[in-house]
Symmetry: D2
């Protein structure tokens, strides 16, 4: 049964796999000193328009968030995030395990508003007791957000500005960054993110790689002894070549963008299928995750033909479900979904 | 130039790579729920003769040591280890970052002696102030050790017994376990380790895999909510299939043993080459790491033909160097070494 | 100028001071093995009607919260608390520094409702992804709360029941416990708290002592090696006699209760003074903290005569201020307040 | 029975107690903003000849070591200490609980040698793998050491120099500092320590105070937001007056020096008593701790008259015991010891 349950159901893109095969027996030094990692760094710097950027490769998203947040914050600082942010809800307390509090802001369809950051800082500084409180040291955002929504360049600019004015670092979680960059209508680019943030990562695990996230510190402004910090967090791979090869391929001839664009197109077809069936959407997502409101009966029926994810109960008879496409989604899978929807959902 | 610098210079064994290719586009759920991980668990249980063993897959050795030690110890407990142990020297303080002290024992060619554990515990318990000290909660050993040496079954039995008598967990770091199990003359087997320890891991990264270590909790006696602990440590992979596929292949028809046996044979040839050249060995290692004493002039000469690792300075004119073989070492590489040694080292 | 700014403005009760003087040169062993600490433990057990209770003495509230929460939780667990709870807002991230997330519940005038705990647990357990989330392991309540409010026996019973049903520890922060126990109309007693919680502390710093909080683990159900945990947290005093003497005196002839009752009477007079002046109260507090709504002009005027604390801005012209009484509040101080209010606040 | 078991058997010096009584009911703000703390800061700055020094008051030694070491180190750094150092042996892992490894150096009667620091750093920097190791970030010394020995000004100068050359902080644990400063023949003064270290503390608990250690950051070079760090560590007292009053008295007319000098004189009498009885000393201590070698039979006999501490077994029939004097040691106590020794030890 074809599954739209998430965007990490398959292995890696065939070009990535091919490169892994071709380079497999080449002897290369460990811990990121291999030539593939060096190539990948160079290519990512180019894509970011930042020849000085520090680029490091890690294995997964939670590991990356934990390490970067811990490395950029002082012990008495916490991280501001949307209440719905991944670091606040779905990382099993990884941030707190590093000693840092997640300070929550209102969520706007998964996004953080510059005005909310400004208001938080104003209240904090005005509070006579703020020396007894956790100092905000960073703003965490995800792009796309956990709800598939995107910041505009203007929103990012305003966030960046409020951060700099308040001496807050700005960190962007790009677990699904490729799908954000390739969405229709977005004016956010990799160079823009590089200009506006203090750190971000380019997600590979959900966008064509077997594993791997590329961390970027714009301008080379990385935490001191970052390799040692990686090691101490258990995040330094002996065979750095594994992520090096993958990101080198993904950033050759914009493979990363091209395969994410495919994921977007598949998402648009998913959207169209449900729209034509008369279904409503929980949120307007331009990226690879589509949140559809279905009746519980429709869900039960559909589940016989295709797989997808539960998101949240809406009322007693309706539920929000998630259909995720990705670089690996096939036309055939979409076709199966189309047939299943026609069969199971009849509204008009 | 052929390199013997370490045992993680190449990618993965061709059978592993083949399986990764063949299964690449199969849709499978994440976080270890994929069918490959389940198969790998089943096969490892069989190899361990323990149908109830808990088996989990992690990415690297430091991550594994950090997570297991942290999960098995109480906050007021530390881990006893040889002063030369990897957790004490080469993990950038990963154990302490989790809040636990490494309590050092004398090293016997990299190994811990049961008698030293007993003596430590006797002194500790006899000390009136031991409530102000770190409680030993575990013994950490590596097999093979960092010096390529091996415990005998008798030594492991005695360690296990002293641990049980003192309510200490026994944990075995098997980063290079395959090379230990396949060494000539060893009487230590996977089922024996399973019977005698509270936790251990079967190293993949240095023995045929792109990445991955298989953690085993004998008898299913795993720490509560281990998956959540993995997540909190940033050690839970979204695509668990990556390690699942690899370990499933490595534990099919004893591929793991066969390729490690190849590494041992290559090490024996390395040993013979240097022995025939009249060189002395720093330590008598039956595993895939050979520690040779060379003059600094010989080292400089050899380095023009093959690569290898610096271990430690012995005196002003002699240095200990390490030659590591592995599953990937080629006959051709050995031949290059033979020619180089003949050319550069003339003693008789 | 007389101050009502907080309840820790003076040293300690005269009887406590007298005992410190009288016992000063008596040689006693350190780290809580002194006879005063032993006496204090015995007296507190009696007051709690629990002859097996474990009782330990610490120096301050944040230290106590941090140590107890850290000792009772597993690493993957967090603590449920009202969003306004001291551990969530005013302890500079001490709980997170120990690796635990504070999971927030709605606040009901500073209190936690059993129904909210039940609902949280139901949502948590129903969430398919809860293995990726922080497990609730404890409910933290403060009695009196940060808003001076009190739980009823019935509310505590319901909280205790929901905790036991959900395998959550119940921990009560009693920084101002004496003022709660001696409030008019309360049906909560020390034995009741002992029966219903897994741990609580009897605050000394704000109720007659120079420093010190008495931690109680009902039934002797204390975390293993608690003294060592105290030491590791930097919370074990060499001169345990300092808190031992103080609590021994405070729990002789119910001095603790009597002096807190004095604080309550003084609070009632404060209340009456403002009520007679026609002022409204922000919250109905039966304890030693009174939250009064004043105009900003009235505040400026009053500040020339007496000191008190800012609580929060209500609107552009009104502010909530706090007047704290305590064991040390004098009739003369109250008289000064009365005169000042008459002078500065004219409403009728 | 008179006890020489340790130097924290009594309460506080009578002048300290008197001041606590006289100031008891004076209303003063909390958290170190009281006038006594401010006076104490001023007086300590004067005693240190450093008008810009930051001075903070904490409750105990382990708390102080934990907080300062954690505040001055980066997460990837550890602290160099003698293997016998208090932070390495007797603080229940408090340093590791903060995430930092204690890196051990050889002990020279409890002291650290500059040459050993230099050699450690040379080896560390020469090691190709040092990025996988804990970076030394600080040298911890205790003065007097745990063995009652003292650094000379020359030794401190050399330690300071090797630290500065290697970018290591130098931190001095002064739990018994007063006894060191007042020892015969020392050329180490408070201003010298202030010039040569990055942080140190002046111990109060063992030198006249009920509790309290005064932390000094020379030149005002304190960690950012130190008050918040104190709070986060559970080390910020609500009633800062308690330590403020005490240190203000101790640093008035050099009371601290005078009472410690008394302790030294008492130690000299202890020394003389045992020397006259023909006993040998384990170590030559010019401070308030005397380490005497006695036969086990002598120990059993003496224990019937006076109390003292076990230090370590020397051989089957001899044991090292510790006699500690202090500010509170009485002439009468010394007389009791003299009589007991005459009765129990007959050698000549």
């Amino acid at each position: 049964m074809y599954s739209f349950a998430c965007d990490y159901l398959e292995g890696c893109h065939e070009d990535v796999l091919k490169a892994l095969c071709e380079t497999n027996m080449e002897q290369q030094p460990g811990y990121g000193a291999d030539r593939f990692s060096k190539e990948a760094v160079r290519k990512i710097r180019e894509a970011c328009h930042d020849s000085k950027a520090s680029v490091w490769f890690l294995n997964g998203g939670t590991q990356t968030n934990q390490l970067i947040i811990d490395s950029l914050l002082q012990p008495y600082e916490g991280v501001l995030a949307a209440a719905t942010g991944h670091v606040n809800v779905h990382e099993a307390g990884a941030i707190e395990a590093g000693g840092h509090k997640v300070l929550t802001l209102p969520t706007h369809d998964g996004k953080v508003a510059a005005a909310d950051v400004a208001a938080y800082m104003q209240r904090f500084l005005a509070d006579d007791n703020h020396d007894h409180m956790v100092f905000p040291g960073m703003v965490y955002i995800s792009h796309p957000s956990e709800y598939g929504t995107l910041y505009t360049a203007d929103e990012l600019n305003r966030l960046s500005e409020v951060c700099r004015r308040n001496h807050l670092k700005l960190y962007l979680d790009g677990a699904r960054l490729g799908y954000g960059l390739m969405a229709d209508g977005t004016d956010v680019t990799l160079p823009l993110i590089t200009r506006l943030t203090d750190a971000f990562y380019i997600g590979g695990t959900k966008a064509g790689a077997l594993c791997g996230e590329a961390v970027v510190f714009p301008g080379g402004n990385e935490p001191a002894h970052f390799l040692t910090r990686m090691k101490q967090h258990g995040a330094l791979s002996a065979k750095g070549r594994l992520t090096g090869v993958q990101f080198s391929v993904l950033f050759t001839d914009n493979l990363y963008g091209r395969i994410c664009r495919h994921g977007i197109k598949m998402a648009q077809q998913i959207r169209q299928i449900f729209a034509e069936a008369g279904c409503r959407f929980y949120i307007d997502s331009p990226t690879n995750q589509q949140f559809v409101i279905l009746t519980n009966a429709e869900i039960a029926a559909l589940k016989q033909y295709v797989d997808f994810g539960f998101w949240e109960a809406l009322d007693e008879t309706h539920t929000v479900v998630r259909f995720a496409s990705g670089w690996a989604t096939t036309e055939d899978g979409i076709e199966q979904l189309r047939r299943a929807v026609r069969q199971c959902i009849r509204r008009n």
